[in-house]
Point group: none
Chain length 413, copies 2
Amino acid sequence: MTVELLSVGTELLLGNIVNTNAAYLAERCASLGLSCYHQSVVGDNEKRLEEAVRLALSRADIVILSGGLGPTKDDLTKEVTAKVFGKELREDAHTKERIEQYFRQMKSGKITENNWKQALVPEGAAVVDNHNGTAPGLIIEEGEKTAVLLPGPPNELKPMFEESVAPYLNSRQPEGIYSRMVKLCGIGESKAETMISDLMEKQTNPTIAPYAKTGEVHLRLTAKAGDEAEAEHLMGPVLEELYKRFGKFIYTENENVTLEDAVVDLLKKKGYTVTTAESCTGGRLAARIMNVPGASNVYNEGYITYSNDAKRKLLGVKKETLEEFGAVSRQTAQEMAEGAADAAGADAALSVTGLAGPDGGTKEKPVGLVYVGCFVNGHTRTEEFRFTGNRDKNRDYAVVRALTLLREELLCL
Amino acid sequence: MTVELLSVGTELLLGNIVNTNAAYLAERCASLGLSCYHQSVVGDNEKRLEEAVRLALSRADIVILSGGLGPTKDDLTKEVTAKVFGKELREDAHTKERIEQYFRQMKSGKITENNWKQALVPEGAAVVDNHNGTAPGLIIEEGEKTAVLLPGPPNELKPMFEESVAPYLNSRQPEGIYSRMVKLCGIGESKAETMISDLMEKQTNPTIAPYAKTGEVHLRLTAKAGDEAEAEHLMGPVLEELYKRFGKFIYTENENVTLEDAVVDLLKKKGYTVTTAESCTGGRLAARIMNVPGASNVYNEGYITYSNDAKRKLLGVKKETLEEFGAVSRQTAQEMAEGAADAAGADAALSVTGLAGPDGGTKEKPVGLVYVGCFVNGHTRTEEFRFTGNRDKNRDYAVVRALTLLREELLCL
């Protein structure tokens, strides 16, 4: 069964708001085993909206529309969809009563005339109650085609989808889709893809799709199966093959686990604490570790040492080291990591020093040159990178590389 | 002239990522005076992609495609668009050289075979250099129709759009569109909108469009004019009126200036240095300040003090303060700011301590409670906030509020 998402709203076309509804609905539909091949956005314009509804219904079994259910004149989604299905609008007593009740509860004064527009329902449509606003959702079925109409505000749309629409869609599904995300760090996208090009060529069920993230590669496995167990059975051999080929590059096969989650988890398992000493990343590495709820179990304090004085004072980097090799050097990265571990009394430490750009580069030390240091268990490993992005991207790459380095070192223990 | 956005990527259809590119491109196109009536998303599927490209070209003068330009087999945007335009793909020497150069700089081993796919260019297409990745952008013109192809990663797409595509689109406009972004901090969107509802109602040329950003409100002024001088003349009185109404809430009227830019600029003008002491934001505030190239002029060192011990050791927060009021308190925020300024020998200091969530909240101190401290010139001001977002959003809001507070204090000096 296929589904198509149609978001209605001029504010989306103008870029006033980001279409988070589409991402939410897409993810939920995928998890419900519905194939989605198109998403569209159209404004509050009758003619274009009607064309968009007709096109979507011609391509998919189920069209989920969001937005344009409000009380104002430019809210046309219900009217246009009813027209496409050839249905009259009739006042719905239940919905009218709910609107009155809503205004009583909100104590938001008198109901304006246009609010009654929201009590009009296409004949034969199922009404989906809205517990967080006045516009009800609607489900219109006609022959092979279904339209689901949801209000635009995410805090109305999401609860309505979870409570009513998801169970409805689930009840209509004959077969399930199951997916798994295998996440890799420390390997580039091209290289990863080359290493599994044979698997990708002969793939049918499950399929593998690679996604490049900053410094990471994610592989999505998707299987069509009757149930979870059958999906596991289908994905098992492919997963095994991926582990054979990528081994320790794989840091999780859980959709919701990030690289920093995996690293904090490893630290917790070893009972280690970690600290950070950052120059060019200026706090981004620490902030990334602190993305993990409960990071306080492994992280107590960290240092941002932008100036040479700070590197000396807070981390004990030697004056001679800075003079002889410079702040952006393997030697400084090493002393920063060791000094940070010492100052924080931490079991492990990551350091980053480099030239993020855009200025300050020389021929010997160009913009993008970054050294990462990792101290664990009495030993420090340093790595040199030459990134080619802008200031922002260079710092993001440095952060991912630092986390990757710590993960590798922890795995080697 | 009309434009249509077509985002390519199965990860969008599956809801793996939110389509922020579409919002960005929509906003920029609107600011360039292009009318956009449709946005679509399609996956990495040859047949459906071709249909989508043909449909978009039938509806709009210019189609901006994003995503699907990578080196892997499922990246098809260039191939399919070239086919629709009836163009052959030819190896582009300039692009090939740039890819080689990119890999040399990255030192990321040998270039795999599939990378050369990115050097193929449709005949007659203009190549747009990518300074942050290997996939170049492309502009294909044929008769009345134009396709602009951009890479999917936002940190590649955005600089490419600003540097090359925006000037190109502008040059194709028969009439000049001039826009100015007035950015406000320290005021909410509803309040800001209410304060200019009369201006918005009678607006014709220039128009005003408000955009809510995290903790900020941006007002885009757009004027249609024959030249820059005429645009200035049209926007002048409106700008004056905005300054009259919003005064010091306005931190810039330059599109490219961020809040951290404005704050660093103020610090430089005063000849002040600043430091940071962060608990729940864990480095995000420092990293935000360090976004500014040349931040080293005003920032030498900073502290991440997650544990109470770290707050005491690095910042000299008193044991009694932590015991009596807790780590998340106005008093602790104050001592953190003062201690940080002292330890770093800085003229100013910002501190953040709070409960970002998701756990750890109590009835008295719920998740979202954050205290920000700002020490300047011998005086410390603290503020209490109660944010209602998730861990990530709460920390972002705290960072913006801290920068806003420092800006206000510096303006009062």
